[in-house]
């Protein structure tokens, strides 16, 4: 609690550092903020071409929304996923990259990784707004779901922040972390139903049945991945436009809180040693 108060007291610094990231990132580019759309759009084109036109992945149409556009279906899962992967990739470097600052000035160190969460969230908000507009143009009725969408985004941001805090500390001790994460994030994308529908996994799992004579199915193990639940949440809100199952909310909320608590505890325990170890 006391630690949370300390973070709250540094909110102005957090805001200024976030602004530094946001303003500094696209300085001296002609397209400016539009660049933050370039990466998800490029991924969308590539995945749509490869998985929809060549490999013929066919997600079910949104129900009850009736939407049936692969590219938009893809983006509903891809944008949350790329947000998490940006936060982790950049956030885990935030302490090492600011080593000089940490060794010269005293301030609440936690604002460094959190400012990365803030600036990535800013870009993500921008991307999601464009997605909502695109969905509305093709006939989706997304607007009433926006308040719930914001809650889901907040949960995912808290989850990502918790992981980023842990990884940032780990990277101070072991610089391997950053290289490991680059690979892990690629694997994670394919372990999550972003590019293919969750029903594919569930159907295959039902065919195999319980593993090794138990009741545990492949789908159960697959469900241990928190991103599966987050992606499901976002798709149901944005693409299907229906109220997600209560348990999905609970699972996402539990993962978010668990990650945040673990991240804060680990960070606090190591915060004082950072200046010496860096």
């Amino acid at each position: 609690m006391k630690y949370l108060k300390e973070i709250w007291a540094s909110r102005e610094l957090l805001f200024n550092l976030t602004q530094r990231e946001v303003k500094g990132k696209y300085k001296r580019t002609i397209l400016g903020q539009l660049w933050s759309l370039a990466n998800p759009l490029a991924l969308m084109l590539i995945y749509t071409l490869v998985f929809y036109f060549i490999l013929r992945v066919q997600p079910d149409p949104g129900s009850p929304s009736g939407l049936n556009i692969f590219a938009l279906w893809l983006l509903c899962g891809l944008l949350p996923f790329t947000f998490v992967s940006t936060v982790l990739n950049v956030g885990l470097n935030s302490l090492v990259a600011n080593a000089n600052l940490i060794q010269k000035v005293y301030f609440s160190r936690i604002v460094l990784p959190l400012s990365i969460v803030g600036s990535s969230a800013y870009n993500w908000l921008f991307e999601m707004a464009v997605l909502v507009i695109a969905l509305s143009i093709v006939g989706g009725f997304v607007l009433p779901w926006i308040p719930l969408l914001l809650v889901a985004m907040l949960l995912l941001a808290v989850f990502a922040a918790g992981l980023a805090l842990m990884l940032a500390v780990a990277n101070v001790y072991f610089r391997d972390t950053q290289y490991f994460m680059t690979i892990f994030l690629q694997i994670w994308l394919y372990l999550t139903p972003v590019i293919y529908p969750l029903t594919t996994v569930q159907n295959d799992s039902a065919k195999v049945g319980g593993l090794l004579g138990t009741h545990i199915t492949i789908a159960d193990i697959y469900g241990l991945n928190p991103m599966e639940h987050f992606v499901t949440l976002f798709r149901e809100l944005l693409y299907d436009e229906r109220w997600p199952d209560g348990t999905e909310w609970l699972i996402c909320g539990a993962w978010a809180i668990a990650a945040a608590v673990a991240g804060l505890l680990i960070f606090r325990r190591n915060e004082r040693k950072l200046a010496e170890i860096l």
Partner: protein, 247 residues
């Protein structure tokens, strides 16, 4: 007896000297350790008080532990044992312009750097004109700081740091910057702080500067406190020890 601004009480600080440092997961798993090290005592049981309103100098040769002590005072390092208590708001100026973003303008950097140093937005707005006046970069305040000359960069950084307005200011060897006029302004600022009853703790290798500015001095040698007290006799003792070493 004057009141105390900072109490340094039996402070011990050790660092690990690595003979072999292999900071990878492979080393951690395969050999069950990441390094071979021994402890090096940078500060050995240092105790002294800094009186309120004094200008307090830390002197000693290279490697005597001055900077380590300064970093402990600034809350960047934490002592292994012993404690440092400060009575009042403390600010440290170990480097100027830390956290400047080179693509952002001087104006934006004042707000960024000010908040890193612990000022609120309101305080920065209040002091904004003072900061610009003191730095003398008014004409270029909306230019990105990467276009600043190194002198301008340092002057702006110093102007922000000096306006944090702490009760206790900790300064590392940062005064050797800027032209003569700017240095004179810095000295004047330190004198003003002293008149306001603020405490300044500084490290310097320039004995002339320490003699000119400090009224109290602590002399460190290889992590041990040799002497502490009024400036003139302590500096004299330090000078004497250097000249005997040379002989």
């Amino acid at each position: 007896m004057t009141e105390v601004a900072v109490r340094v009480d039996h402070v011990v600080k050790s660092f690990r000297l690595y003979h072999e440092r292999n900071q990878t997961i492979k080393a951690a798993i395969m050999r069950g350790r990441t390094s071979v090290h021994e402890d090096f005592l940078a500060l050995k049981d240092v105790t002294f008080d800094v009186p309120i309103g004094s200008t307090f100098g830390l002197i000693g040769s290279n490697g005597s532990g001055k900077s380590t002590l300064l970093k402990c005072l600034a809350n960047i390092y934490y002592p292994n044992s012993g404690s440092i208590t400060h009575f009042g708001k403390i600010a440290a100026m170990l480097e100027v312009g830390s956290g400047f973003h080179s693509e952002l303008s001087g104006r934006e950097n004042i707000f960024l750097n000010g908040s890193i140093l612990g000022m609120s937005r309101k305080e920065i707005v209040q002091k904004f004109d003072q900061i610009i006046d003191f730095s003398g970069v008014e004409q270029f305040i909306d230019q990105p700081v990467k276009n600043y000359s190194s002198g301008m960069y340092v002057r702006l950084g110093f102007a922000i740091a000096i306006n944090v307005n702490p009760d206790i200011l900790v300064v590392d060897e940062v005064l050797a910057v800027g032209d003569a006029a700017f240095q004179e302004r810095c000295f004047q600022k330190f004198r003003d702080l002293k008149e306001e009853g603020k405490t300044v703790i500084l490290v310097s290798h320039s004995m002339e500067m320490v003699e000119q500015m400090c009224d109290h001095v602590a002399w460190l040698n290889r992590g041990s406190l040799m002497d502490v007290g009024k400036a003139a006799p302590t500096i004299k003792a330090y000078r004497k020890s250097i000249s005997t070493e040379l002989d």
